[in-house]
């Protein structure tokens, strides 16, 4: 293994220093190190994404574990949690082990599979959660993401059942009867555009129910992609009561609003939908306050034909891995502790990923990323490492750039380029 000396690096905004990496760990000194000039760069613990769609198996035309891993590394991530809505669904030990193994083979980030809560995401019957937990993939997060576990009895059982192996249910909060045919946030813009509305209450009602269920059975609940001001209030109250609930927000819900749908360009179609400026403001405040614990990308690659079509026929979702850090930097500013907490430490803790989200102290695993906060870049979809192109930031100038990423002491990204 190569030994590296990150020369003049600022750890989380502190005064410049030299950071050494030896045998995959942060070390204090080394004689013959390869020097990386890190002047002006900020070192963060490697980012951890709780919510990534890698599409493999099943939609390798949109993304593969390999291309998604490369996108993740370029985005500063050292670990991603791969959602279960693949084809076949990751609802068995076999599929989660396949995804886990593909991640190992790609070797650019740690790919931690998420298991489905119910068989085939159908919401009828629990998947073999224990088998996935004890598989090589060591699954701890379970989610039917894309679908809500809407049946309250089934949700209760799932929350209870995973306690046996310290699992957590990550809920896609969407009351399905309130969102039949829904295309965008229900409000003035949907009324104007004649697109069926996705009312905020459909999310808030499920979160309210789920925090009560989690409280009742004493289980851990994680809420995916919180998108409304009302959801923030439900979570704030639940946390104040001591409910074991965590929540994530996506970068796009921190920045973009429903008015973008006026173009009818489905690149802005996402589930949950883009909301109003008031919701954006509430989500930002909640992220700062800690009511929302983490930023998760909901990176959702889609093939061109699934987006270059009528809005109603397009699949929901947008790319996120390669732009998340820049969006968070633009929203939070250079608050490095806060960024490290919301994008690395807390997601690593929720997912139970040992060795990720740790402080860059001597003896810690060298999972880290170096960012240049003063850099600017214009997003060009053609340059993204993802196999898909559905970024809503095409042509936008974003702040910050990921210069290098290290996974267990080995660079996955150097000079802003993937090593492999």
């Amino acid at each position: 293994m190569t030994t590296y000396r990150l020369k003049g690096v600022s750890v989380l905004g502190a005064a410049p220093t030299d950071l050494f990496i030896t045998d995959g760990l942060i070390s204090d000194k080394s004689a013959s190190a390869e020097v990386i000039d890190a002047a002006g760069l900020v070192a963060l613990p490697g980012l951890v994404d709780l919510h990534t769609h890698l599409r493999e198996p099943g939609r390798e035309d949109a993304e593969t574990v390999e291309t998604g891993s490369r996108a993740a590394a370029l985005g500063g991530y050292t670990a991603v949690c791969a959602m279960a809505n693949t084809s076949p669904v990751a609802d068995s030990a076999g599929v989660v082990e396949q995804v886990w193994r593909l991640g190992r083979e790609a070797g650019m980030v740690d790919v931690q599979p998420i298991g489905a809560v119910t068989v085939g995401l159908a919401g009828k019957q629990l998947a073999e959660l224990g088998a996935m937990a004890t598989s090589a993939a060591n699954v701890r997060i379970f989610s039917d993401d894309g679908f809500c576990v809407a049946d309250p009895r089934l949700m209760r059982r799932a929350l209870e059942y995973v306690k046996a192996f310290d699992g957590i249910i990550a809920q896609h909060a969407e009351e399905p009867r309130l969102t039949e045919g829904a295309q965008m946030h229900e409000g003035e813009v949907s009324t104007r555009l004649g697109l069926t509305g996705w009312p905020a209450v459909a999310e808030e009602a499920i979160i309210a129910r789920d925090v009560l269920l989690a409280e009742h059975v004493g289980s851990r609940l994680h809420v995916c992609h919180v998108s409304t001001a009302g959801s923030v209030e439900v979570l704030r109250q639940a946390k104040a009561r001591g409910v074991r609930v965590t929540a994530e927000v996506t970068p796009h819900h921190l920045l973009l609003t429903d008015e973008l749908a006026a173009s009818y360009d489905p690149v802005y179609k996402v589930n949950p939908p883009l909301r109003t400026a008031g919701d954006v403001a509430a989500l930002r405040q909640a992220l700062v306050d800690g009511v929302i614990d983490v930023v998760a990308t909901d990176h959702a690659p889609h093939a061109v034909e699934d987006k270059e079509c009528e809005w109603a026929y397009a699949r929901p979702g947008m790319l996120g891995l390669e732009t998340a850090f820049s969006i968070v930097l633009s929203v939070l500013g250079e608050q490095w502790e806060l960024i490290a907490d919301r994008m690395s430490r807390t997601p690593a803790r929720i997912a139970g990923l040992d060795g990720h989200g740790t402080d860059l102290a001597v003896g810690s695993p060298a999972n880290l990323t170096l960012v240049d906060p003063s850099a600017r870049r214009v997003v060009d979809p053609a340059e993204l490492a993802s196999r898909s192109r559905n970024t809503p930031y095409s042509g936008t100038t974003l702040p910050g750039r990921i210069v290098a990423t290290f996974l267990r002491g080995e660079p996955t990204v150097l000079d802003g380029k993937a090593v492999k």
């Binding site: 409000g187 003035e188 009324t191 004649g194 009528e310 809005w311 633009s330 042509g395 100038t397 702040p399």
Partner: protein, 349 residues
């Protein structure tokens, strides 16, 4: 002149008035023995219909033919569309064939906006999903103006399933632009809460949202969060007072004050989705029968975009009464569509 007619919001008052004036000239043509103008000779107009709508299609076809355009009817049935060709591929095909205008009817809201980004020719919205039907609004406005002599200051009730009605959306936008005031009437399940704000010209959204060129750099954000990115542009002109759009759930109280009452077609499948309990109850509360018609002022007219559910939203005696403009609307449809094609393709004005 505007290039596309995707929404009634594409029309400012001057442009809309020009179209209505031109429609008047076109209507005069209909009285002649030879009902044809050479204006669009050699131009190609494609009727791209993804939904069955014989009346709208033949209206556009007649309009284009009276202007001497070559008309190609491209219907979803029996074409490559039924084999799963995407709208974009169809658009590129029409583009390659040199369509000067594409008239599109589609079940998906916003399909004309998408189409306009893929073809060079003009795109005319002939009804998209639950969004808009701007030429219907033009023919309706033309009909009102012919019957009542003006649009500014008119009081118009639009009654029925506003939530799902493209006719309602386009009419509200166009009528308020032209100075009429509109009262939307129906059961609360079918009138969106925020409809007045949503359709007021003061909340106009541009159809060309893009983040391109937006700069999201923290230097500009010192001292707090950056504003959410709303590049769709929400300038708030205040030309029209919000009072121009009102909502009522009580048809009887609205009628005595109206110059125009426009009944919308109510689809019976809405019942299954609990928007209202039964056709009978709907008809009792919101149907226009003779007794209700008598509550209208003497001069008021009754409109319906067709096809009607006789006995549901409108009683047969009302539909066939002298106040009804329903047949006139059909004739005016050809004139209004001629005016749109003439102005969009003729390049005049």
């Amino acid at each position: 002149m505007i290039k596309h007619l995707r929404s009634a919001a594409d029309l400012d008052a001057a442009t809309a008035t020009l179209i209505l004036d031109t429609a008047g000239e076109m209507a005069a043509l209909a009285g002649r023995e030879v009902k044809k103008l050479p204006t669009l000779r050699g131009r190609t107009v494609v009727n791209l219909f993804y939904e069955d709508s014989t009346r709208t299609r033949i209206s556009f076809e007649a309009a284009a033919k009276r202007l001497s355009a070559d008309v190609i009817n491209f219907s979803a049935k029996g074409s490559s569309v039924s084999k799963g060709e995407s709208l974009k591929d169809t658009a590129l095909t029409l583009q390659a064939m040199g369509a000067d205008a594409v008239v599109i009817r589609h079940s998906a809201s916003g399909a004309p906006h998408r189409l306009a980004s893929w073809v060079d020719g003009s795109v005319i919205n002939a009804g998209d999903g639950t969004h808009e039907h701007p030429t219907q609004a033009l023919l309706d406005a033309y009909t009102m103006r012919s019957r009542l002599g003006r649009l500014a200051g008119l009081k118009v009730a639009i009654v029925g399933d506003v939530l799902h009605s493209r006719v309602a959306r386009s009419n509200v936008l166009l009528l308020t632009t032209l100075g009429a005031s509109v009262t939307l009437v129906g059961p609360p399940t079918l009138i969106p809460n925020d409809v007045a704000a949503a359709l007021s010209p003061a909340t106009e959204l541009t159809g060309s949202a893009s983040l391109r060129g937006d700069r999201l750099i923290p230097g500009e954000m010192a001292g707090g969060f950056p504003p959410p990115a709303n590049p769709a542009g929400v300038e708030k002109p205040t030309a029209i007072s919000p009072a121009a759009i009102a909502v009522s759930y009580d048809l009887d109280s609205v009628l005595p004050d109206m110059d125009v009452v426009m009944m919308l077609r109510v689809q019976t499948e809405r019942m299954q989705d609990s928007y209202f309990p039964s056709a009978r109850e709907y008809s009792r509360r919101y149907g226009l029968d003779l007794a209700r018609m008598r509550k209208l002022p003497e001069h008021a007219i009754v409109m319906h975009p067709g096809p009607m559910n006789r006995g549901m939203e409108i009683a047969p005696e009302v539909a066939d009464s002298s106040r009804s403009t329903i047949v006139e609307q059909v004739a005016n449809g050809v004139s209004a569509r001629m005016a749109v094609l003439y102005l969009l393709l003729g390049g005049k004005a």
